[in-house]
């Protein structure tokens, strides 16, 4: 019976690979972590190699490979899109066509030549992959499913339901009516990079008022069931330089240059966009709840990395529980495609709760060598002492890089490739933004909190293990944790249960024992514009290039003052 399938996503952004064996996800990783190129979209050879090695097999041992979209359908949409915007789409056509003809339509041949794999290659529709990624590992026996992203082949939004190992996508919305593309267009208008800056815009929204909401509502023309159609006179998705037209500029003012100062207008535009996004998603979720009468909802696709919107859906849509894939974007598409093949095609039973720790881990010898090769002075400590000493460093106001175990999959660091700080310290946010992450001062930081004590600090009564919810911080606690309370009084929380990440849990517990506060600042271990670190060597390089005070890699601790 076939049981080993390699899932992959590539060519657009966020290339990734995963391996499922006997219905269980054994490995998954983003290609960018290996190549050190942010949002690397090339065929994920390094991630593929890692997944096979983690699974103890080679490519000829695979029963199948699966791709997260239907390339020919997507190519047809690309051509028709260029046709519809003829003749101004020539610059985009000139860029796109060679890439398509090079290798995007011949994946089976590419897998044979690059991996030595000549077995079956499956292709799963993009939003079906997102739906599978959201539903199949959710643990729900039956649930409603909503997916939303920029665009797959044609679909930009789908709704349906899952039951057992069956997924039924009932309706879809199609390009160019796309919430993801709308958000990205405005992101670029505000001077941030597409596919990277959307989270920044979400953070910026807390500083503004929805003064432009009516203008956005007029552009989106949403219906009560949440469906909408974008007024295309405001957008140019085939433009060479910009995704928006002069009409958009007329409505919203001069666009912002990259790295421009964010004034009140920018904050208000961000707030208005966020408000519209929440309105539409809430309407979609409520309508779906009405239609399906189901209690559980699964969310997939890059739009659901918007944790503020997710929180509103949890609180206001009528669904009792929601599940959001930790790799909700296209990397999750690879996982979803593999899950679809394993469970829906091959009938393998669905497994237990999804762990995001699916990337590579490194043995102690490698960690030690990385630190020694960098000329750092370091000590080896047993785990109990390690957690206590790290917690103590945090209470002293130090910023600590923390690399443990298997790397997370998804855009968030969840305790294994993390920079830690003291959430009680009001200066921590500025220090981290200025001296470590080198990013805008308005960017918030997020807490990782002991699961059983999260409700004491946050208006949250369900787990949030993947940092994809943004509950309000309880008013009486805000003063205690200023570093992780955002401008609007919310926090993007990760709840940490001991069974999910024992060492990270013990670290936070040690911090609680010293301070009474059961959480730490958890931000991803990377510099601006770079992927999250993967190897001990990556971590050492970032440590040396920033103002972090200490580095903990496995059981080894290096402090900057000791090295100096």
């Amino acid at each position: 019976m076939p049981s080993r399938v390699l899932g992959l996503s590539a060519h657009y952004h966020d290339a990734a690979a995963c391996l499922m064996q006997e219905g269980r996800l054994t490995a998954a990783a983003h290609e960018e972590r290996f190549t050190r190129r942010k949002s690397d979209a090339e065929l994920p050879l390094r991630a593929l190699n890692y997944c096979l090695q983690e699974g103890g097999i080679t490519a000829p041992d695979l029963d199948a490979a699966v791709f997260y979209e239907k390339p020919f359908l997507k190519f047809a949409r690309v051509l028709i899109g260029h046709l519809r915007s003829f003749p101004r789409s020539y610059p985009s056509f000139r860029r796109a066509l060679p890439r398509w003809l090079q290798d995007r339509l011949s994946l089976p041949l590419t897998l044979k030549s690059e991996l030595g794999f000549s077995g079956r290659t499956y292709f799963v529709k993009h939003h079906l992959a997102h739906a599978a990624a959201a539903f199949l590992p959710s643990g729900f026996t039956e649930a409603a499913i909503l997916t939303a992203d920029a665009v797959g082949e044609w679909a930009t939004l789908t709704r349906g339901r899952g039951s057992g190992s069956r997924i039924r996508v009932e309706s879809e919305m199609c390009f160019p009516d796309s919430l993801g593309l709308l958000y990205t267009a405005v992101t670029t208008f505000l001077g941030f990079a597409a596919q990277e800056g959307e989270g920044t815009v979400m953070g910026l929204a807390a500083y503004g008022k929805p003064a432009y909401l009516d203008r956005f509502r007029a552009i989106a023309a949403a219906r009560p069931d949440g469906s909408f159609a974008l007024d295309q006179s405001y957008f140019d998705f085939y433009g060479e330089e910009r995704m928006y037209t002069p009409r958009f500029v007329e409505a919203f003012g001069r666009p912002y240059a990259p790295k421009a100062e964010m004034d009140q207008r920018a904050c208000d535009i961000a707030a208005s966009l966020q408000a519209l996004t929440e309105e539409i998603l809430l309407a979609l979720a409520r309508d779906l709840r009405q239609r399906t009468k189901l209690d559980d909802l699964c969310l997939g696709g890059g739009v659901f990395l918007n944790c503020v919107a997710n929180q509103r859906i949890l609180e206001e849509s009528g669904f009792k529980r929601i599940f959001v894939q930790p790799a909700a974007g296209d990397a999750g598409g690879a996982m979803g495609a593999a899950a679809f093949v394993s469970h829906c095609l091959w009938g393998l039973p669905r497994g237990g709760p999804l762990s995001p720790y699916l990337g590579p881990a490194f043995p102690a010898s490698r960690c030690r060598r990385a630190l020694a090769a960098a000329g750092l002075t370091f000590r080896e400590l047993p785990e109990e002492k390690l957690c206590r000493e790290t917690a103590k460093m945090l209470t002293e106001g130090l910023v600590v890089g923390w690399v443990q175990g298997r790397m997370e999959v998804g855009p968030r660091a969840l305790g294994n490739r993390t920079i830690l700080g003291d959430p009680r310290n009001p200066q921590m946010k500025r220090f981290l933004n200025d001296r470590v992450k080198h990013r805008e001062e308005f960017r918030p930081f997020a807490p990782a909190v002991l699961a059983e004590e999260a409700a004491d600090y946050f208006e949250l009564d369900s787990p949030s293990p993947f940092m994809l919810l943004a509950p309000r911080v309880r008013p009486q606690k805000r003063a205690a944790i200023p570093a992780v309370t955002h401008e609007d009084g919310t926090a993007r929380v990760q709840t940490v249960a001991e069974a999910e990440n024992p060492r990270f849990y013990r670290l936070i517990k040690a911090f609680r024992e010293l301070t009474g506060v059961p959480m730490v600042v958890n931000t991803s271990f990377n510099r601006r514009g770079e992927p999250i670190v993967c190897t001990p060597e990556d971590a050492v390089a970032v440590f040396k290039a920033t103002a972090m005070d200490a580095l903990v890699v496995g059981e080894f601790v290096a402090r900057r003052e000791e090295h100096a």
Partner: protein, 76 residues
């Protein structure tokens, strides 16, 4: 000697590609896509607009989302 010849061939191929590729893309776009655009505008303009969903909603019925194995082996 062989290495030098290979390097020379690579440069020639790159130069030819640098000329042929833009010319090919230009033709494909303005002739291929352009003629198609004209014909579609005359004969079936709805292709340029896209399908209109039913009144009251922009949702469309989703198709081909329950593929079997044979469907999944296809790239379309």
């Amino acid at each position: 000697m062989l290495e030098k010849l290979k390097a020379f061939n690579r440069r020639v191929a790159a130069a030819v590609q640098a000329v042929l590729l833009p010319a090919g893309l230009f033709s494909a776009y303005y002739l291929g896509l352009g003629l198609t655009w004209i014909m579609v505008r005359l004969l079936k303009p709805s292709v340029l607009r896209g399908p209109r969903p039913p009144d009251g909603t922009f949702w469309r019925e989703a198709r081909d989302y329950e593929p079997d194995e044979a469907d999944c082996l296809r790239q379309s």
